[in-house]
């Protein structure tokens, strides 16, 4: 090692950092964030593991093309203001993505260091830089305020797609008003993803940053009800729709309307948005039981089961019809859930929810499954094993099998083009074909990821900007 620079061999010899975490027995008693964040030395050493590859596989794996080697190099040279600036230039919500992106299937999946070991911990470094930036606002390199263009844009929905688009559009100097149906911002980031993965201060910080950039945020405005899309189109030069895909899918099995049966959205909204069960005297209640079963295998299912654990459930189960390898949840969350004592009841499909006759759910009737040939999604299709019926006891059952487009907004604006699932159709740059109307995020894709929603918001902002310049 000369002049503090490391050779490739020296870099290759460094091992991937281990994220400091709260111990499982401590964290199941609170909603404190599980991952505590890298220390300064850890981050520096992790940054040095990056080989600054010329073909930048990692960048190709990131849906918004974050300049990964560049920002990591800045971390490695201990220049956090520069790292923060690079990151912000590519990603409007780095503190969020560093925490919730499925890195193992995106940026880190394509990191060359994975070939001979572990990928560079890109997500952890992203979070490190973003957290530093949030607590050191006075040291950030800021762009001069843009000149107002005189154009106004309405953004519908304050999830990651809407927040990103709003931020990008404000940077161009357009006057942005963000409308949100709920009483608070963030979309799934706030009402869905629990605080032990994404603390509310992070979302508050990002939203505050947008406000400082001049974005006007109006909550309690339901587009399609309070104001129509037509009204927005007449009051603003362009409209970006990012209302998510918030309609919960039910299983359509007997017993779903029993008391004690929740959708993931209801359960998580009660606890995350309304603080149910977090304080004894909280006005919004949530049902707590000793045994809780969550049906599903995605991030929402894991968030529910780990939330139930923190609300005091002793036996918590994930009931999933495929096997663990097919679970769409982030790997880290699966590990964390297991450490927290969650049981994984795999290859199991519920066929009915049971009751002891008092109106309350008492358990699930299930069938054992085996995996057959791959289906359209490329995952092996689960098939029922006949005669394998069995029962699982549960006082609370949470259905977390996905969400689809909510027709509330689109039903009120019939000229918006939709596919057969009710998702808004757009061309490759985010335009709907209706002049001045753009869309992105889950309302276009169906339930996807935070970073894909953000990518849509970013791309649409570029398109909208071009549209405004032409108009």
């Amino acid at each position: 090692m000369k002049n503090g620079l490391m050779t490739i061999q020296e870099r290759m010899a460094l091992e991937r950092c281990v994220m400091p975490q709260l111990a499982a027995d401590v964290r199941i008693r609170s909603f404190d964030e599980v991952n505590r964040g890298l220390g300064a030395h850890q981050a520096l050493m992790e940054a040095k593991r990056c080989l600054r590859c010329r073909d930048r596989g990692c960048v190709a794996g990131c849906p918004v093309g974050v300049s990964i080697p560049e920002f990591i190099t800045a971390v490695a040279s201990d220049d956090l203001p520069r790292a923060a600036r690079i990151l912000r230039g590519d990603n409007e919500l780095p503190a969020v993505c560093g925490r919730v992106c499925p890195q193992e299937t995106q940026c880190e999946a394509l990191c060359v260091r994975r070939i001979k070991g572990d990928a560079v911990a890109i997500g952890y470094l992203e979070r490190y830089v973003a957290d530093w930036a949030m607590s050191n606002p006075d040291r950030l390199l800021r762009d001069p305020a843009p000149t107002p263009t005189g154009y106004s844009v309405a953004v519908v929905g304050s999830g990651p797609a809407g927040l990103t688009a709003a931020g990008e559009l404000a940077r161009y100097g357009h006057a942005v008003t963000l409308f949100e149906a709920l009483h608070d911002t963030g979309g799934v980031l706030r009402y869905g993803i629990p605080e032990f993965r994404l603390p509310k201060e992070i979302i508050d910080g990002e939203v505050e940053f947008l406000r400082q950039q001049g974005v006007v945020i109006e909550c309690n405005v339901i587009i399609g009800k309070t104001l129509t899309v037509a009204q927005l189109r007449s009051q603003f030069t362009a409209v970006f729709i990012a209302n998510g895909a918030g309609l919960p899918v039910m299983l359509n099995i007997p017993g779903e309307n029993l008391k004690g049966v929740y959708t993931a959205n209801e359960f998580l909204t009660r606890v995350n948005l309304m603080d149910a069960g977090r304080r004894d005297d909280n006005p919004t209640p949530v049902i707590k039981r000793r045994e809780v079963a969550v049906i599903g295998g995605g991030n929402a299912a894991l968030d529910c089961v780990r939330t139930a654990r923190r609300l005091g459930a002793e036996r918590t189960m994930i009931v999933y019809r495929r096997s663990e390898t097919e679970m769409p949840a982030r790997i880290q969350e699966i590990h964390h859930a297991r450490e927290e004592g969650v049981e994984f009841v795999m290859l199991t499909a519920p066929t009915a929810l049971l009751s002891t006759g008092d109106g309350w759910v008492s358990g699930l009737r299930c069938l054992k499954m085996e995996l057959g040939l791959p289906d359209a999604s490329g995952r092996r299709r689960p098939e029922a094993i006949s005669g394998s019926e069995f029962e699982l006891p549960a006082g609370v059952v949470i259905i977390a099998v996905g969400t689809v487009a909510n027709p509330l907004l689109t039903a009120s604006a019939p000229d918006i083009p939709l596919n057969k699932f009710g998702n808004i159709l757009i061309n490759s740059d985010g335009a709907t074909g209706v002049p001045g109307l753009f869309a992105g995020g889950d309302i276009v894709r169906g339930g996807a990821t935070v970073i894909l929603a953000m990518g849509d918001g970013k791309r649409a902002a570029v398109t909208i900007n071009e549209y405004l310049e032409r108009s």
Partner: protein
């Protein structure tokens, strides 16, 4: 922030509140509701928009203080503000000229019925309005409903006003009288009342529309907490309703789901020292 313009006590634990909400006032249709959250940390409470003045930018709510949250809402003074009022939610009522209609309201359900009666009258319907409650102080809106109705009948359980008994009794007479039998019936009130009405009219095949009040959170179709069984289908009352064909509603399921939080509600009621309503069944 939504300013409280008026707040009057008009009956036992019953308040009429006028709230400034200009956008909602111009967008709302009869049958729709708002979701109110008094302050950060408080519950989201669905309340029907009973009336609106688009010029003044105000909406009128009739609120029965049945639990901790509604009690806090009615405790807001004129000039103070409500943090969140979101709406108008749900579908507007289907208003057509049926000819003769009967509108039946029980307790605070009468407040939900009022905008309906108004719209039905405007559409040229001849209306028999039947309202009922426990006793005289729980009878509301008589003066407003009377000029809109061909006849207004009042029942109280204790006989302190109108006929002694339940709203179903005058309705039974009406259904039995070929000259007065309605083409449609609207019923809003406690679940057992709506169930009884729906059972009476089903026999005669008279279309009956009820307005359901399951527990709600977002009111936008996002949580599914408000789901009700309508015939063979599960519907979300906040977006598919709140009005449904009474002949198809699973009222027992609805009643049962309304008790989901009985223990928790009793706790929060005790915590806020309220001594009202609890255990007496849904309004």
């Amino acid at each position: 922030m939504f300013e409280v313009i008026r707040n009057e006590t008009i009956g036992e634990n019953l308040h009429k509140m006028v709230v400034s909400a200009p956008r909602i006032a111009s967008a709302r249709k009869p049958g729709q509701f708002v979701i109110v959250r008094l302050a950060p940390g408080e519950e989201r409470i669905p309340l029907t928009i009973s009336d609106a003045d688009p010029v003044a930018g105000t909406i009128t709510l009739f609120i029965q203080a049945v639990g901790a949250s509604t009690r806090k809402i009615v405790g807001t003074r004129v000039g103070e503000t409500i943090r969140d009022v979101a709406g108008p939610l749900g579908n507007g009522s289907r208003i057509i000229n049926w000819g003769r209609v009967a509108c039946v309201g029980g307790g605070v359900g009468t407040a939900v019925l009022y905008p309906l009666v108004k719209a039905l009258a405007q559409a040229g319907n001849r209306i028999t309005t039947i309202i009922g409650g426990r006793s005289a102080p729980s009878i509301i809106l008589g003066d407003e409903l009377s000029p809109l109705s061909d006849s207004l009948l009042i029942t109280t359980e204790d006989g302190s006003l109108g006929t002694k008994g339940y709203v179903t009794e005058p309705l039974r007479d009406l259904l039995a009288d070929p000259r007065r039998v309605p083409q449609a019936v609207f019923a809003v009130g406690p679940v057992p009342m709506m169930k009884a009405v729906a059972e009476m009219t089903r026999k005669q095949g008279i279309e009956t529309i009820v307005s359901l009040n399951p527990i709600m959170i977002d009111g936008t179709g996002m949580c599914g907490g408000c789901r009700v069984q309508i015939g063979s289908e599960t519907k979300f009352a906040c977006v598919d309703g709140p009005e449904f064909d009474g002949a198809l509603v699973d009222f027992d399921g609805l009643s049962d789901r309304l008790t989901s939080y009985r223990t928790e509600e009793a706790d929060s009621c005790r915590a806020s020292e309220c001594r009202i309503g609890l255990g007496k069944g849904a309004p």
